[in-house]
């Protein structure tokens, strides 16, 4: 798929989703909004995962984006949701740029554990900070968009549209990045990092940049989540939250950015309905669903369409 086609397809998809949104019930609008804002965090994991690393600490940047946006609202009085999302993204990107070079020196399980440790440190600090609500967190009133307060059914749709557009544009940018020379380098690193070093590219700098991109996406997701949810608490940085992001990334597979959103939506839908119909065993229903995906689609949901095309050895890139 050429870049122009990719951008056109993405634009078409976003336009279609905006139209579909007009017909969706409000609960589903909200569910899709959250699925999109969580999905974009997993897209960040995908960026790192293509280089053969998994971050178990995306909750860190998710929480930083969320807290930065939420505090800008409550402390600085910034109510415009687009500004809040930009603040959250920038804050998380800054943190990503600061810790990225440090983390990029590690590979494999050490990288994963370090990211996990960082997010749990943030969790511990947040729990002990009554100024930002401690373990209970705090609430953020509904924001504004171009001066109009987002409330009622119109507000729900506006947030949905915003989530679709913001995450859609970010995801398209990531998809373009993965097709760029630097993006393809990440795949090469996954294949054989040592060989890439000998070819004259710094593996560390590629991975540090990937981590920063992932952090920015995490912050974006966090800010979008609190704008829709109206509440933030330290569990945003907890390992179960990070685990869920990794899970969605694995569910989607590393072939397709679109698959991440589908996986995120599927997870939210299954959780929501199993919670209602099997209140005592909803976790088990969720587990069975995940197990089924792993058993029948080991390369992820994305392999349903993207995997087949990528199966040709010329574009696979996995074989060293």
């Amino acid at each position: 798929m050429s870049r122009t086609v990719l951008v056109l397809v993405a634009a078409g998809l976003m336009a279609a989703l905006l139209l579909i949104g007009l017909a969706l019930p409000r609960w589903l609008l909200f569910l899709v909004t959250l699925a999109a804002s969580h999905g974009i965090v997993s897209v960040g994991i995908l960026v790192i995962m293509r280089g053969g690393l998994v971050s178990f600490g995306q909750g860190l940047v998710f929480a930083i984006g969320g807290y930065a946006a939420a505090l800008s609202f409550t402390q600085l009085g910034i109510t415009d949701v687009i500004v809040l999302i930009l603040i959250g993204t920038a804050a998380a990107a800054l943190v990503g740029a600061a810790v990225g070079p440090l983390l990029a020196r590690y590979t494999g399980i050490f990288f994963g554990m370090l990211t996990l440790a960082l997010s749990m440190v943030a969790y511990g600090v947040l729990i002990k900070s009554p100024a930002v609500g401690g373990s209970d967190g705090f609430n953020i009133p509904r924001g504004t968009l171009f001066g109009v307060r987002l409330e009622g059914a119109g507000g729900d749709y506006a947030l949905y549209a915003l989530a679709i557009l913001v995450t859609g544009i970010a995801a398209t940018a990531v998809a373009l990045h993965t097709r760029s020379a630097r993006g393809l380098m990440t795949r090469a690193i996954h294949g054989n990092g040592l060989r890439v070093e000998y070819l004259g590219t710094s593996v560390q700098s590629v991975m540090a940049i990937n981590f920063t991109i992932a952090a920015a996406l995490g912050g974006l997701g966090g800010a979008l989540t609190i704008v829709a949810l109206g509440h933030i608490e330290p569990t945003f940085a907890f390992w179960t939250q990070s685990g869920e992001f990794v899970f969605v990334a694995i569910l989607a597979g590393s072939h397709s950015v679109t698959a991440v959103f589908i996986a995120s939506l599927a997870l939210e839908l299954v959780r929501s309905f199993s919670n209602l119909y099997f209140p005592n065993t909803w976790q088990m229903a969720l587990g069975l669903f995940l197990l089924a995906i792993i058993l029948f689609l080991p390369a992820g949901i994305g392999s349903l369409w993207a995997g087949r095309r990528k199966a040709s050895p010329s574009s696979g890139g996995e074989t060293p």
Partner: protein, 447 residues
Amino acid sequence: MSSPPVPSIGLRRLAGRMLAAAAALTIGLAASSAQAQETFRVGIVTFLSGPAAESFGVPARHGAEFLIEQLNRGAAPAPYNQVGFGGMRIEPIIVDENGGATKQVQELRNLYQRENVDAVVGYISSGDCLAVAPVAEELKKFLILFDCGTPRIFEDASYRYVFRTSAHATQDNVALARYMRARNINAGTFSMINQDYAWGQDSRSDFVAAMQQLYPQATANADLLPKFGAGQYGTEISALARANSNVIYSSLWGGDLQAFILQGAPRGVFQRSQLVLSAADHVLQPLGERMPNGTIIGARGAYGLMSADTPLNRWFFDGYSQARGGVYPVQAAYRVTQALLGLKAAVEKAMAANGGKKPTPEQLADALRGLEWDSPGGLIQMKLGNGHQAIQTMAIGRTRWDAARRQVVIEDIQRFAAECVNPPANMRSQDWIKAGFPGAKCDTPGN
């Protein structure tokens, strides 16, 4: 990572079938909500899994199920003997509270917008309560918080559609300190162990503030904040043994509290220090004779073994015990019961005003604001937070293992009038304690 051959056709067919099933389910739901005229749908959100399930969530569910079954048969005593809510059958939809505040916000929206419930009664965790209250307000839907403790909900914000039908956590610690003062418990030195999250931190600061008022000479020794769900308290128990204070205070609950007691008792710390627990009646039945004798405990209200002997309470206590095979109701079961009875009172009051139609959320809110009603745990009065926050009678007592009856009994029970242990409407809890409980009415202990 090249993908192995996948049975994609079969899977797609399966996916198609699942979709069809989902569609059928949705249509079924739509059909059932069409005939919602004779029923009143209540979403009930309580912990069915996770650490709070055994202690609070599941007892609350049992309490709700028992009460709703009785109300639907019209079997409850007067003034609750009308069938259901004002003649409408109650249809509960029970949802698990486990999974964090993000999930709760989503599920609350689903309950209102997808399941079309008429009201939601729920939430044990303070974090969940804080998160869901603005959502109900924004959707203009009726919400009763039944258990969570934090005073912040109505002290930091005001709502029209959100109510809490049980007292917040301030009374637990104020009553505890008052009880100690009234019994002249020697508390020259005290140590504390609380979980390091909002409930533990808030309980700790309320208790310290109340002690400063009632025991101004007392000094605090150990001040321990183990993390929530720690389970192992060896280090903390050593620190408490070393401190050797007159009193050990704790707001631990559930599995954490049981573990702390089981690990501390063999080392004798509870013989040397008076153990004082702010919410512990829910561990009496699981612990049995392993509960240290003479422990001073609260139950977050006049509940369970500390409840008053009224016809309504006798009916509830005996009926619940019978339905649950001898397990008597404790805190959470009482709290959900008083929430549902309050909802019933509000529905029937609103229906009397609107000519017998199912009330709108606005009518429900107007009916419940400032309302008073009787519950098994005593009179509930919506007096704080502009009539949205309840106060209620509080009780503290001492435990003793009764070998003949093979159960822990509570003796030396003292009940505190609601206005003796709760702040007046115009004050924040912490300020009220620190100012020396101005306006507290404690004349009628009603022992």
